[in-house]
């Protein structure tokens, strides 16, 4: 069976500016993918190219094995069977909730339409709101209506363009979880575009990080966080520190924190200097440890403290510690490494 979505060497250009540069990935049926990246990285343009709103200057896009985009030919969005949810929801103010949801349903009887609307409203827990108008709903409710409107005609793929950014922060994470449950229950294949990594982790099975139009990594959330493909991904996703190290004979690395094995991102030889990525959860507070570091900053985060620790040469590290370990700034605390395998970038 062909993949639900295949993007091969796709490039999008506005005038002379290349905004999507040779991007390739595949998405299996029922999988939720995410395009993650800072604003201006090309993620929305890529999504719009998949929807058919932007033409490709290079490469091709296949939906369910059928070629829908190639240079010089872009199948119109209305012929692609893609569902789209926009940042502003774009609900039609002159139509009721029910009328909005059936907007894309065609060729089926009024009775089956009503049935589908009822079933979708149950799915999102908004039964009984058929006759309300969009302005009578809360932001979260509007978002779910926009979602089921796009799902109603059972599209090949559902595209979500920053669907949570119009909502209050407290609402976002809760809704991301709910939306994932809804999509999974209906077995929908979907792509989410976002700049928020927590949203991506909460919703997606697989995440693509985009930077300057290029797909840097297409991987699970865990790998993106712990095994970033390049410096850009390492810095964009999560917190962390880079500390200098030196490659030893045999491929291990020596640093101020001891020797460890590494996942190299480039050719190397003994004696090369490298930079090591250390996440706050890679360093564990341990009073027994002989390795003591000075606290130079601390931020209370509820369950944890995020300590900033300083090495003797001034390099700073982040360390996440359960919050009943309350130490003062200036104190020296014992730490040890929780990993023996770190990511090394060229120094």
């Amino acid at each position: 069976m062909p993949n639900q979505l295949e993007v091969r060497h796709a490039s999008v250009r506005y005038g002379r500016q290349v905004v999507v540069d040779d991007v390739s990935f595949e998405l299996e049926s029922g999988v939720i993918g995410c395009l993650l990246g800072p604003s201006g990285c090309g993620k929305t343009s890529l999504l719009r190219a998949i929807a058919g709103f932007e033409p490709l200057v290079h490469g091709e896009i296949l939906l369910h094995g059928r070629q829908v985009s190639r240079p010089g030919h872009t199948l119109a969005p209305e012929k692609r069977r893609v569902g789209m949810v926009f940042q502003d929801f774009a609900l039609y103010p002159h139509l009721t909730v029910g009328e909005n949801v059936v907007f894309g349903l065609r060729g089926i009887s009024g009775k089956s339409q009503r049935q589908r609307v009822g079933e979708l409203l149950v799915l999102v827990g908004l039964s009984g709101l058929e006759d309300k108008y969009p302005h009578q709903l809360s932001g979260g409710q509007q978002q779910r209506i926009a979602l089921i409107r796009a799902m109603a005609p059972r599209p090949e793929i559902l595209l979500l363009d920053e669907p949570f950014s119009g909502l209050d922060v407290e609402l976002r994470e809760q809704l991301a979880g709910e939306v994932r449950a809804i999509l999974k229950r209906e077995g929908v294949t979907a792509i989410l575009v976002t700049h928020d990594q927590l949203e991506a982790f909460a919703l997606a099975d697989i995440i693509g990080v985009l930077g300057s139009g290029r797909l840097r990594q297409w991987d699970s959330g865990y790998h993106i966080y712990h095994r970033p493909a390049d410096r850009f991904v390492a810095e964009f996703v999560g917190q962390g520190a880079m500390i200098p190290g030196r490659v030893l004979a045999g491929g291990r690395i020596e640093s101020a924190l001891g020797t460890m094995s590494a996942d190299f991102k480039q050719q190397h030889q003994a004696g090369d200097s490298v930079e090591l990525l250390l996440r706050p959860d890679d360093i564990i507070h341990d009073d027994e440890s002989d390795f003591k570091l000075k606290i130079v900053g601390k931020v209370f985060q509820g369950a944890e403290y995020l300590y900033t620790l300083s090495l003797d040469d001034g390099t700073e590290l982040l360390c996440l510690v359960q919050s009943h370990h309350d130490h003062a700034v200036g104190e020296r605390i014992g730490v040890r490494l929780a990993v023996d395998h770190v990511v090394a970038f060229p120094g």
């Binding site: 969005p77 069977r81 940042q87 774009a90 039609y92 907007f103 894309g104 595209l159």
Partner: protein, 558 residues
């Protein structure tokens, strides 16, 4: 950064996109012809007539126009700002009624209030007659202010133009965060100090914007100053055109007037821009208004009811009285004829304006290139330009075209084509379009703005084709705006006087022209029917406006 061209809902047309923008641009240029023609006379060498004008009457035109502007400015500021402050920030009996009723004077064209007041207050009018009956005085025994004077004209204009200042400064007061005012009061300033030291300076840009709109209308006025015998630019243009039969000199006067108008437009634009920075609150809070005590309440009530009474109730009442007493002589087939003429004319102009506005609005929506943006700006420029100036700018090129065509036809075929454009309804409707397109354009653009591009895109992703999007999304969402645009232009055409006077076909009368003619012949009571009809229809947009105000207030309190 996304190119807007890709949002074009009709992909099969996108190849002709250039054709589209060329159409939009050439339409806008066509509409700009009158202004360009008039401005081109700035570079024409001054003729003998112009030198004669400059030696004799030009000084009067300039001085009178300036005096009139100063008078109107004082009037509209006093009336507009005080009523806006009272109705938006203070609580007193009747406030919520005044809030919308204070807009009613907008329904009365200045020339109509002018001759109504003349009928009321001149020597033979009911007020002076009553004074003489009570006191036994005769002619010359007492002093009574002369209504037909420059002060009178300023008063008339101020009475019907203050709503511009009222509207904009009211919006500014309401937009001020209640916090800035509260801060001032916690710092020990009373309501009065707060008003003068915080609220007024913050609202200044909005007030100036409203003032410049009122002054543009003042400069455009012909009916009032002509009736009161005050020589200003507009009456001067008429006199030069008809009396001296000199098109060039009339166009040169028009060009001078135009420069003043441009200065006002710039002032208004700058003020509006500043007004945005002076808007201190992002979120509207329910205002807690100053509770006025009994004495203050009476004062507030008197100020607001005074503006309303003299600006609307008194003149409208007088018109109604005249109309009732002369119903028999005036409600005849001629009046019906007049109404038909007016409806046909205003209906044609408003429909055409709507079609053009849709064309320009969609052009701008589909392709936000500099050329379409410029075109839309250009096409919307006419609203600030006095009808007299537009009429001159239409007449000169149309007549030149007719003459050229006529002499060519005579040479070629030996027969005369006569006047094809000038002196026909085509010229008149064209002038209306130039002047009032901005009104429908603004409304249509506001309506189109509500249809966000994502709404088109959602429809397309749901399998909806272009025609279906227009039918199922655009038309239902635009309906209200389209009707409003039609109504606003219809009413504006109905009230328009000077352009109609100059451009109408021989003996083709409209309500406005007839009211003006009868009033000029001192047949004030007979003019009341036409005038009252204009005022009655003119109330419709005021109702629309006041409904928006009430709705926004409810939205805020919700």
């Amino acid at each position: 950064m996304r190119p807007t061209a890709s949002r074009f809902p009709w992909p099969h047309l996108s190849i002709r996109l250039n054709g589209w923008s060329v159409t939009v641009l050439s339409l806008a240029l066509l509409l700009a012809v009158p202004v360009i023609v008039v401005l081109s006379y700035l570079f024409e060498p001054a003729g003998e007539v112009w030198r004669h004008l400059a030696d004799t009457v030009l000084r009067d035109y300039v001085i009178n126009s300036l005096l009139l502007m100063v008078g109107v400015a004082i009037g509209v500021l006093l009336l507009g700002v005080s009523t806006a402050w009272l109705t938006s920030m203070c609580q007193f009996p009747g406030r919520s009624v005044f809030e919308w009723a204070l807009l009613l004077p907008m329904a009365i064209p200045a020339y109509i209030i002018a001759y109504t007041y003349t009928g009321l207050f001149d020597f033979a009018g009911p007020v002076q007659t009553m004074i003489r009956e009570w006191t036994g005085w005769g002619y010359g025994d007492y002093w009574f202010p002369e209504i037909r004077s420059i002060e009178g004209a300023a008063l008339m204009l101020a009475l019907v133009l203050y709503p511009y200042v009222y509207l904009l400064s009211r919006a500014a007061f309401l937009g001020q965060s209640i916090c800035v005012l509260d801060v001032s009061r916690t710092l020990g300033n009373g309501p009065w100090r707060t008003f003068f030291s915080v609220a007024l300076p913050l609202a200044r840009p909005a007030i100036v914007a409203g003032l410049s709109l009122a002054l543009m209308e003042t400069l455009a006025d012909y009916g009032t100053v002509q009736y009161f015998g005050v020589s200003t630019f507009t009456t001067g243009i008429f006199r030069t055109w008809y009396g001296l039969n000199n098109a060039a000199a009339a166009a040169q006067l028009s060009a001078m007037l135009l420069l003043v108008v441009f200065a006002l437009i710039i002032l208004e634009k700058i003020s509006r821009k500043q007004a945005r920075y002076h808007h201190t609150s992002q979120r509207h809070q329910a205002l807690t208004r100053f509770e006025l005590n009994a004495r203050q309440s009476v004062m507030a009530f008197l100020i607001c009811s005074g503006a309303l009474f003299f600006g609307f109730i008194l003149p409208a009442g007088q018109l109604l009285w005249w109309a009732l007493t002369t119903a028999e002589e005036n409600l005849d087939s001629r009046f019906l004829n007049l109404i038909t003429h007016t409806i046909v004319l205003a209906g044609t102009a408003s429909l055409l304006a709507l079609m053009l506005a849709l064309l320009l609005g969609y052009g701008k929506r589909q392709q936000k290139s500099w050329s379409t943006l410029f075109a839309v700006r250009l096409a919307g420029m006419g609203y600030a330009i006095p009808g007299t100036v537009i009429a001159i700018g239409v007449m000169i090129p149309f007549a030149a075209f007719d003459n050229a065509l006529d002499s060519w036809a005579r040479e070629q075929f030996g027969w005369s084509t006569g006047l094809l454009l000038s002196g026909t309804l085509i010229a008149l409707v064209f002038a209306y379009l130039v002047r009032f397109l901005a009104v429908s354009l603004q409304t249509v653009e506001a309506g189109l703005g509500k249809i966000r591009p994502t709404m088109d895109e959602v429809a397309r992703s749901l399998g909806t084709g272009s025609g279906e999007i227009v039918r199922r999304v655009h038309i239902p969402m635009l309906k209200g705006s389209l009707l409003t645009a039609l109504l606003l232009v219809f009413v504006d055409v109905l009230k328009e006087l000077p352009a109609t006077l100059i451009l109408r076909p021989f003996n083709y009368n409209t309500l406005a022209v007839r009211a003006y003619e009868l009033a000029s012949d001192e047949r004030l009571a007979d003019a009341s029917y036409a005038a009252l009809t204009i005022v009655a229809v003119g109330i419709l947009p005021v109702i629309l406006l006041s409904r928006t105000i009430t709705r926004s207030r409810h939205a805020k309190s919700a």
